[in-house]
């Protein structure tokens, strides 16, 4: 059910998936199922129930952990958002009087299918996050992660209250300002310099592509909706009478109905393969950017420490202190650089593989649907001509 393939090694030592999910009024409960041969866990196979907030808590704990500064933290799954779907369902309920019974049931079915699709997607997103963590050689050993997987009871992670959210907001502002500063520093290492420019550009373009693909898919969906309405009106026209014209109407209505189904499928598939892919890589590239930022920050600190050391040596005051701090910075920087390099290379490999898989599947699906559509039209034409 994973919509975005991140090409993970299925390592027998730790396998995580979401075996079940339950949707309640405004929250979703995921059943996280783990299979592991690692000694850290009490059992070999177990399940817990987790909610979205707990995933976020896990993600944030990674981000805040200095140890992981040198890794690309897998992006947090997006909040399950059923609002739009719920709104539509409500509107449908209100407008029930104004449309025919068939129309109503049809639209309701559609909305339910949409709801189901969104649901599946959010499950997949959460699963991907967990799998990424599990596949990462360092992150999988994280204690919080183990607690997340194993602890039977509620983690009592509360969502951030207002004050904390404000703090976060300010932190972000500071961070982005800093990021700009850091980005201006030219990097000694060519690899990283190149990566920096690349990532920046890539991130922006992915954002753009993602937005545009969303729009495209949305208009595709509305076109499909329109076809639905046309089909039902034609149907009403057709049932009014039993003359030839009306039989004709009925057939055309059927045609439209089927076309609509196909169009809706096309839109859904495009959504799945293309839009989700782009969205995921948007987030991932953001995470990679964050990594680079952290490294850049460390570099700046290192350079500052160097300068401080020089100054201290010149004044011959607090030299030892300056030395130790410089050492610390140096170590930090180097550690980050090392792992960052590997991470970024991995990122690229992953990205290429994911895009390839999804694009291939997208193309295949589009072909299949187009062929189906063509066949449908041809058969309908044949029927119509036969009648004339």
């Amino acid at each position: 059910v994973s919509s975005v393939n991140v090409d993970l090694q299925t390592d027998a030592t730790l396998q995580v998936d979401i075996s079940d999910a339950l949707s309640e009024r405004d929250k979703v409960k995921f059943t996280v199922h783990t299979k592991s041969t690692l000694p850290n866990f009490k059992q070999n196979e177990f399940s817990v129930v987790r909610q979205h907030e707990e995933f976020i808590w896990l993600h944030d704990s990674f981000v805040e952990n200095e140890e992981y500064a040198g890794y690309i933290i897998p992006p947090a799954p997006p909040r399950p958002d059923f609002d739009a779907s719920r709104e539509k369902l409500q509107k449908l309920g209100e407008g029930e009087g104004s449309m025919t019974k068939e129309e109503f049931t049809k639209m309701k079915q559609e909305l339910e299918a949409e709801y189901l699709a969104i649901f599946k997607k959010t499950v997949a997103m959460h699963e991907v996050f967990l799998c990424r963590v599990a596949a990462h050689p360092v992150l999988r050993k994280d204690l919080n992660f183990h607690v997340f997987l194993e602890y039977n009871q509620d983690l009592s992670v509360r969502g951030k209250n207002k004050r904390e959210k404000m703090e976060d907001f300010f932190k972000n502002v500071v961070k982005s300002a800093d990021g700009v500063l850091v980005a201006g520093v030219k990097d000694v290492d060519d690899f990283f310099e190149h990566e920096k420019t690349f990532l920046l550009e890539y991130h922006n373009r992915v954002k753009d592509a993602s937005a545009k693909s969303d729009r495209m898919i949305r208009s595709h969906k509305s076109a499909a909706d329109d076809i639905n309405r046309i089909a039902s009106t034609l149907y009403t026209l057709g049932t009014q009478d039993s003359t030839d014209v009306c039989k004709f109407f009925l057939k055309v209505s059927e045609l439209f109905e089927k076309t609509r189904k196909i169009e809706a499928r096309v839109a859904a598939d495009e959504d799945l393969k293309l839009a989700d892919l782009l969205k995921y890589y948007l987030r991932e590239s953001q995470a990679a950017k964050d990594l680079l930022y952290r490294r850049g920050r460390a570099l700046v600190d290192y350079e500052n420490a160097n300068k401080a050391l020089d100054r201290a040596r010149a004044k011959n005051k607090d030299v030892l202190q300056a030395e130790t701090s410089q050492q610390v910075c140096c170590q930090k920087f180097e550690k980050i650089s090392e792992s960052a390099k590997q991470e970024l290379i991995d990122f690229k490999t992953r990205r290429v593989a994911a895009f390839r898989k999804n694009l291939v599947e997208l193309a295949e699906l589009e072909l299949k649907h187009a062929k189906g559509n063509l066949q449908l039209l041809q058969s309908c034409l044949g029927v119509l001509k036969g009648d004339t």
Binding site: R205, K212, I230, L384
Partner: protein
């Protein structure tokens, strides 16, 4: 009178009758101010045939059933001169409020009693029968709108027609502007709507669209607008000429043939005539609500209901199709922008294979976008416009039904009036006032005449409506949808 019409074959007689009416109409036109003054059919009957002859030339086509207009005109000249003295008293009546001014039937009945009315009907039938034998070979294409004129740029639409037997030339190209089309439509409507013929509705005026074109904006929307209008006009003309009665109308023929048409002034959107029309429409709407007709004829009841339903459904369908077209256009726009974005993404991707793949994706999407656009246009022009036409047609049909109702109500009113006058008359007889009595009796006679005439009107309308409706229904849909379906594939 009837005897005089015997000599030429019956088919001709009908047409002669027809022509006469047109001449008579010429008379009426001069007295009624609502129609345009520079009327092609001048008030002087003898000059009109002369005009007709001069424009069409002495060419005589060898056709068995339909004669050239010139012959008819020639005959008409004789008839007209004989009839003219008789026409005067009726004209002096002036357009009476109970009778709509331009109804040819109204002209006939008081003049010649029952005989000619029957003849008229019969001849109309014959015209229709004649036509069934005639191969309908007409092809009209409205093409190439061009801009003419510097200040007041006007779009001239030219059109070509081919191989129709009653016309003098095989292929003609004429240039007409939009207001000419509207003028033709208003003439036909005023002439035929009242006796129950369904006149195809003309495309609507759109001030915004026209000003855009006039200003010279060369963007997509104005091109679309021109295209829309062009195809609408083409369909309008085709429908008009398909109708056998309308085809024989001299205005239509003149429209199709002569190179210069006087400006149809009353079609300007913001003219006095336009406002008058709007007022009339409003009055009609109010009237419609107050008149409650006692529908005695079940057929009408059923048909009326059917048309109401059809109208409703078609409107809904039309709205949905417009929505679809709109969304398709949106889709194509969005696909285009996505294609560009994907191309850029491909550019920035440094893994070459992926980069190539992405730019391929971009190209594919671009093609898809083009396809979507085409589909949107196809949908639009075939489907939605057609539906719009049908919606308007149905409105015209409803208009015809309404006229029938109006006629009925007028008939009833006249009857009531007659009754009152009769009562008044009897009262006067009691009071023994001779002169007033005479006046009353005159009035009564007049009213009786009107009542009879109202009745006749009503019946005639009913009959024509029936015929029209049967013609309207099935065939048109078939023809319409099949090409559209082919186009989707």
């Amino acid at each position: 009178m009837a005897a005089e019409m015997e000599p030429p074959p019956l088919g001709d007689a009908g047409q002669t009758d027809f022509r006469e009416i047109e001449d008579g109409e010429g008379f009426f036109v001069s007295t009624v101010t609502t129609l345009e003054s520079p009327e092609p059919s001048s008030p002087d009957p003898p000059s009109m045939p002369a005009e007709g002859i001069s424009t069409n030339g002495p060419k005589q086509e060898d056709i068995s059933l339909d004669d050239d207009p010139e012959d008819l005109f020639a005959e008409a000249t004789e008839e007209v001169s004989l009839d003219s003295p008789e026409r005067e008293p009726i004209l002096s009546d002036g357009p009476s409020p109970a009778i709509t001014p331009v109804t040819p039937t109204a002209m006939l009945t008081p003049r010649m009693g029952l005989g000619t009315a029957e003849m008229f009907e019969r001849s109309l039938d014959e015209i229709e029968e004649d036509d069934s034998g005639d191969t309908f070979d007409m092809h009209i294409a409205v093409s190439d709108p061009e801009k003419v004129g510097t200040f007041n740029t006007v779009l001239m639409y030219s059109y070509i027609k081919t191989s129709m037997t009653i016309f003098s030339k095989n292929e003609t190209t004429v240039r007409r502007r939009f207001s000419d089309f509207l003028g033709l439509h208003s003439k036909l409507a005023s002439r035929y709507l009242h006796i129950g013929y369904i006149v195809p509705p003309a495309p609507e005026k759109s001030i915004v669209g026209m000003t855009k074109v006039k200003v010279g904006k060369e963007d997509l929307s104005s091109a679309e607008f021109v295209e829309k209008r062009r195809s609408a006009l083409e369909r309008y003309l085709m429908r008009t000429v398909k109708h056998p009665i309308l085809l024989k109308d001299p205005d239509v023929m003149m429209f199709l043939e002569s190179s210069e048409l006087p400006r149809a002034v009353s079609t300007q959107a913001l003219s006095g005539a336009g406002i008058l029309r709007m007022v009339n429409k409003a009055a009609d709407a109010v009237n419609k609500m107050t008149i409650k007709m006692n529908e005695s004829d079940a057929w009408f009841e059923e048909k009326h209901q059917q048309f109401e339903n059809l109208d409703l459904q078609l409107r809904k369908l039309h709205a949905s199709v417009e929505c679809l077209v709109c969304h398709r256009k949106e889709l194509s726009v969005n696909t285009a922008s996505f294609a560009k974005s994907a191309a850029m993404l491909g550019n920035s991707e440094d893994h070459t294979a992926l980069s190539r793949a992405l730019s391929q994706l971009a190209e594919v999407e671009e093609k898809i976008d083009q396809l979507h656009q085409d589909q949107a246009y196809a949908d639009f022009y075939l489907f939605s416009e057609l539906l719009g036409d049908y919606v308007r047609l149905i409105t015209a049909v409803k208009g015809v039904f309404d006229h029938r109702m109006k006629t009925w109500s007028k008939w009833q009113d006249t009857q009531l009036l007659l009754q009152k006058k009769r009562e008044a008359e009897s009262k006067l007889q009691f009071a023994n006032k001779p002169d007033k009595l005479q006046q009353a009796q005159d009035e009564i006679k007049e009213l009786e005449g009107k009542v009879q005439q109202g009745e006749k009107d009503f019946e005639l309308i009913s009959k024509t409506i029936r015929k029209e409706v049967s013609r309207f229904e099935l065939i048109k849909y078939w023809e319409a949808f099949l090409p559209e379906a082919k186009a989707i594939a």
